[in-house]
């Protein structure tokens, strides 16, 4: 324990150096900006910023990049709440209730609770990283292909429970998402699947294209057909910017539970952080006394996934710091940056460069503090953005989305694909299909299929491996129970309907 305190003291002495605070602030600021802009490729932007950091001292460079990373994570939820555009998969869940809250005139409360929830989760997760980083690593390594497959199945079940309408339609959307995710080169053989020999499709359809289309463009098209009065509810009554005392009490449990879930799942590289946010949402919906509120602006539906999201963002540093395994593309860039600085990321960092290791952990906490300092005052600004007449707001969103999508791969085709998904999204809504399960399945699909196939290869075709390996067996059992629980009300409802008929 005293070791931990001494290490943290060392960390804070590094992170609190004025220059490093400035780097942290700068990173968080640029990150927030990039995160708020819909679609703009976080990875592309980090890649552009990378050469700038080459001239900085290594600790400063990493602190700045880390700040950028949380900033982008957090900024993404702002866009989700305000204009219903998820910048990345984990904020799809924030859209569900966050944007509904904004529509009810409570954008300020939603944004603030997201900031507060994230900060709390960030603080807890940072301590966790510092205290338990090394032992938690071994947990991550227990996850092989079979376990990841089971985790992804569980994730898909969460996606079913997320739905507020028909379970059957949600399942249909999940299957559709899985099918779409299979477009592109097959991982095992390299064969092009459902690509129609179009080179642009050979790496599959990008997540941003699908999300921008189904959420961003479709939402705009749908809003345009409404009369201005019914649409401008957003502008009409914007109640207080800050959450009320009741909001805080309502969401405190959700934040705590989200933090726990996020911290645990964040450790798993490859999809863990993603599953965290909707696991938290599903959990809240299950234990809520008023599950009907979810999807219509329940504050817990914003607080829990945001807390989980941010906790996972912190603990996902564990595999990076202790193993040198980057869990996502942004972190892969950071590994690149470390390499250029002559730091070999991985097990040796903690021993050989303690000031770097602990400095970064301390800067995580500082970064979270910065985010709250930057974002709470900005809430007012964002909310006032909603007062811009919609006839001017929507073309701006379209242009931002177009530029954002284009910036990811410099590919005009990506913009076209997003446009097609905009039309699909519009059609789906008209037929009471929800896009959220589709998008989540689209992201989880490849992870699920790849790990299923890997597990089968390693087990030489023996499917019992999923049940005999304890972790995967337990995860699959939980999935089954959740699925049955979700189906029960539907079955009883169907029965009622039949009796009425």
């Amino acid at each position: 324990m005293s070791d931990l305190l001494a290490n943290l003291a060392l960390g804070f002495s590094v992170a609190a150096a004025p220059m490093n605070i400035a780097f942290c602030l700068l990173g968080a600021l640029v990150g927030t900006l990039v995160g708020v802009l819909p679609g703009i490729g976080t990875v592309a932007t980090v890649a552009m910023l990378l050469p700038i950091t080459f001239g900085l001292p290594p600790v400063g460079a990493l602190i700045m990049l880390a700040g950028f990373y949380y900033g982008a994570q957090y900024g993404g939820s702002t866009t989700s709440i305000l204009v219903n555009i998820p910048g990345e998969a984990s904020s799809v869940v924030t859209c569900l209730d966050g944007h509904q809250m904004a529509k009810n005139g409570r954008a300020g409360a939603a944004l603030s609770i997201a900031a507060i929830g994230s900060f709390f989760a960030g603080c807890v997760a940072t301590v966790l990283v510092a205290a338990l980083g090394a032992p938690l690593t071994s947990l991550a390594l227990l996850f092989g292909p079979a376990e990841y497959f089971a985790l992804m199945v569980l994730g898909l079940i969460f996606a079913v429970v997320l739905a507020k309408g028909s379970i059957l339609k949600a399942v249909a959307m999940i299957i559709l998402g899985l099918l779409l995710s299979m477009v592109g080169s097959d991982l095992e053989t390299g064969a092009g699947r459902m690509t129609f020999d179009i080179a642009e499709l050979s790496d599959g359809i990008g997540f941003a294209n699908v999300a921008m289309g189904l959420f961003g463009f479709a939402e705009i098209i749908r809003n345009l057909e409404m009369s201005s009065e019914s649409r401008d509810i957003i502008n009409a009554k914007v109640s207080g910017l800050m959450p009320t005392r009741k909001d805080l009490i309502d969401s405190s449990g959700a934040i705590a539970r989200g933090t726990v879930l996020g911290s645990i799942l964040g450790i798993l590289p490859g999809g863990g952080a993603l599953v965290a946010s909707f696991a938290a949402y599903t959990f809240e919906k299950r234990i809520s006394k008023t599950p009907k509120m979810f999807g219509h602006g329940a504050i817990q539906g914003v607080a829990a996934p945001e807390a989980a999201n941010n906790a996972a963002a912190q603990t996902s540093f564990i595999p990076l710091l202790t193993l040198g395994i980057p869990p996502n593309a942004v972190m892969a860039l950071m590994v690149g940056a470390m390499t250029i600085h002559g730091i070999v990321p991985g097990p040796q960092v903690m021993v050989k460069q303690p000031e770097l290791f602990w400095g970064m952990i301390a800067s995580m906490w500082l970064g979270n503090l910065m985010l709250v300092i930057i974002n709470l005052p900005l809430v007012g600004l964002w909310v006032s953005l909603l007062r811009v007449p919609y006839r001017l707001l929507f073309p701006s969103i379209i242009v931002f989305c177009c530029i954002g999508i284009f910036s990811i791969n410099n590919a005009p085709t990506d913009v076209l694909i997003a446009a097609v998904f905009g039309l699909i999204g519009y059609w789906l809504v008209k037929h009471d299909f929800e896009p959220a399960p589709l998008v989540l399945a689209f992201v989880l699909g490849p992870l699920m299929e790849e790990n299923l196939r890997r597990a089968m290869l390693i087990a030489r075709g023996d499917a019992t491996v999923f049940l005999t390996r304890p972790i995967s067996g337990v995860l699959l059992a939980i999935s089954l129970i959740l699925l049955i629980l979700a189906m029960l009300p539907m079955i009883s409802k169907r029965r009622d309907e039949v009796f009425v008929e």
């Binding site: 640029v30 900006l33 990039v34 802009l37 703009i40 592309a44 932007t45 552009m48 910023l49 059957l168 339609k169 399942v171 249909a172 299957i175 559709l176 899985l178 099918l179 299979m182 097959d186 095992e188 053989t189 064969a191 699947r193 459902m194 129609f196 463009f217 705009i220 098209i221 345009l224 057909e225 919609y390 006839r391 929507f394 073309p395 379209i398 242009v399 931002f400 177009c402 530029i403 284009f406 910036s407 410099n410 005009p412 913009v415 076209l416 997003a418 446009a419 905009g422 059609w427 809504v429 008209k430 037929h431 009471d432 196939r453 089968m456 290869l457 075709g461 023996d462 309907e497 008929e501």
Partner: protein, 178 residues
């Protein structure tokens, strides 16, 4: 979502026999997508020994989708549901046009579609941003010319400063021809 309340009722004839047209046509579309997926993945090899093969996944999910589509469409035939919602034309048309223009002009397009060469020079970001902003404005019935022009110019400048100068993304600004 309560669109059902304000949607207009749709026509008679065969459609009148369908008690839940939203579900019916929704299910029908899923069936079509499933068949399309079957066709698109028909050339892929399936299970080989203990390797899954690239074609297995798409075929399994296409089958499930087909099955669910049938259930949903069937439900739509039997169970009473909300009528079809009307689809707007103006909004989607202009929004799509704006996106098409952006995609077509930002970097230019050179491709041969079924033997027909398509050549659009690269107009660059300033042009693409301004034009697609202006075009999408028409999607709303509340179009006002002067205000729109000012907004479009402002937005273009803002985007250029933000993306090209602040974030340093490698966009071409002005028209350039290859």
């Amino acid at each position: 979502m309560a669109e059902g309340a304000k949607s207009s009722a749709t026509g008679g004839g065969i459609l009148a026999k369908i008690r839940g047209p939203r579900d019916f046509f929704g299910g029908l579309a899923l069936i079509i997508v499933a068949l399309l997926a079957f066709w698109a993945s028909s050339n892929l090899p399936g299970q080989q020994g203990f390797a899954f093969g690239p074609g297995t996944g798409p075929r399994i999910f296409a089958s499930v989708l087909l099955f669910i589509g049938l259930i949903i469409a069937g439900t739509g035939l039997i169970v009473k549901g909300p009528p079809l919602d009307t689809f707007a034309i103006r909004g989607p048309a202009y929004v799509m046009l704006a996106i098409l223009i952006f995609a077509g002009t930002i970097r230019g397009i050179r491709l041969d579609l079924a033997g027909i060469p398509i050549r659009i020079p690269a107009f660059g970001m300033v042009f693409a941003t301004f034009v697609s902003f202006m075009v999408s404005l028409f999607g709303s019935k509340e179009f006002r010319l002067v205000e729109s022009l000012i907004a479009a110019v402002g937005m273009t400048i803002f985007c250029v400063v933000l993306f090209v100068y602040l974030l340093g993304l490698p966009f071409q600004l002005w028209p350039m021809f290859f």
